[in-house]
């Protein structure tokens, strides 16, 4: 799917893909730390 949005001289700017990975890993970390004890479905 889509790649990085932009980079270059102005510095690294995360793409939507990267933000999705960051959010998912942050959620996994919160589950691991038992901040979210049980996510129902």
């Amino acid at each position: 799917m889509s790649g990085e949005v932009s980079s270059g001289r102005k510095g690294w700017k995360p793409s939507l893909d990267t933000w999705a990975v960051i959010l998912a890993l942050a959620l996994a970390l919160l589950v691991r730390a038992d901040v979210f004890k049980k996510i129902p479905w």
Binding site: M1, G3, S15, A20, A24
Partner: protein, 361 residues
């Protein structure tokens, strides 16, 4: 609307929407998704209480249908559009979290089978779409975009290729519309064909991942068949998405050599830029689960988080599909796309049936 969303996605790369602009649309996605989930539960409970024989219609279908009704019968106010366009973001979050439901050994085995089939599928699809494009006298760049969209990854691949080969925005709009319209048809036709052929969950998931172009529709098509098929569809589609950089790079070099696109400088950098990063996130979570970094309950929670993210995606698939807008985009690209898709679907089905005989999917 589909087109306008696709175009706004390109624009959003330049001017990202403010976070507050996204809230109404995200709330609508959540509302539609939750309504679909509640409707499934309500109908099952009602049918059971009244001793009715009622087929279990998955929340996936309800969420998509409610979204379709809203976007095609009513008019979705502009205030909701930026948030609705985030459905692809939730899809990627869901895919990364879905890694928790795969042990790495399964990912390697199924991913390996998928990759082998993906290489065959991409090669045949590219040849086929170019032959059809020539036969129907489409412009070469529109043909390239349709070939990229139908061989790899739908809308995102088309957007990535548009920039790389300097294609017209109108060509990419045509190609995106064809891919979206055909994805909507696949949602309903693939499960019917799968059930009539009594395909196993593994075989159907693999077929959906290989045969349906857009990742959101491939995920929804697999999930419509069964939960297990949905998992396999995501894995197969992820393997297909991983190839995007190579195919777009090949097209970029081809058009640059003809003097009709900018030259590609650093090829490794180009590949990394186009590589879908969520594939790495998916593998990371799968690795962590395989290393027993999470308890059983935590793995269940991660799987459920993935389902919630997909729920928003399925609502978005319905809400962004507007048949009136799609029908305005012209018949020829759609006919080429449709012919190509039918042939690719038949071809991938043959590949999957062959693979299931060899590897027992």
């Amino acid at each position: 609307m589909a087109t306008s969303i696709a175009v706004s996605k390109v624009e959003s790369e330049k001017t990202p929407a403010k976070i507050f602009d996204l809230v109404p649309g995200i709330l609508l996605l959540a509302g539609v998704g939750y309504a679909g989930k509640s409707l499934e539960k309500f109908l099952n409970t009602y049918a059971k209480a009244h001793h009715w024989t009622f087929p279990n219609i998955e929340y996936v279908l309800w969420a998509i249908l409610i979204g379709l009704v809203i976007s095609n019968v009513l008019t979705v106010p502009k205030i909701f559009q930026p948030g609705i366009a985030t459905y692809e973001f939730w899809l990627k979050v869901g895919i990364v979290l879905l890694g928790s439901r795969f042990v790495l050994a399964d990912v390697l085995k199924l991913g390996g089978i998928s990759l082998a089939l993906v290489v065959i599928e991409i090669s045949l699809s590219l040849v086929l779409m170019h032959a059809l494009g020539r036969a129907f006298h489409l412009t070469p760049k529109l043909t390239s975009l349709l070939a990229v969209g139908s061989s790899i990854c739908g809308v995102s691949a088309i957007i990535a290729a548009q920039g790389a080969i300097d294609a017209d925005e109108q060509d990419s709009t045509f190609a995106i519309s064809a891919v979206l319209a055909l994805g909507a048809l696949a949602l309903f036709s693939f499960p019917l064909i799968g059930h009539s052929l009594h395909l196993s969950d593994g075989s159907f998931g693999l077929w959906a991942g290989l045969g349906v172009d857009n990742t959101a529709e491939a995920t929804a098509t697999g999930a419509l068949y069964s939960d297990a098929a949905g998992k396999v569809a995501v894995l197969a589609k992820t393997a297909r998405n991983a190839m995007i950089g190579f195919v777009v790079l090949a097209y970029a070099i081809y058009w640059a050599k003809r003097g009709q696109a900018g030259a590609v400088g650093n090829k490794a950098g180009f590949l990394w830029k186009k590589f879908p990063k969520f594939v790495l996130g998916f593998l990371a979570i799968s690795l962590l689960v395989s290393l027993h970094s999470f308890t059983k309950d935590q793995v269940t929670s991660l799987g459920n988080l993935s389902r919630w993210a997909f729920l928003l995606t399925f609502a978005g698939v319905g809400l962004r599909t507007n048949f009136r807008q799609l029908s305005k985009q012209g018949l020829r690209p759609f006919v080429v796309g449709a012919l190509g898709e039918v042939l690719i679907a038949a071809l991938t089905l043959g590949l999957v049936l062959g693979a299931s005989r060899i590897w027992g999917l």
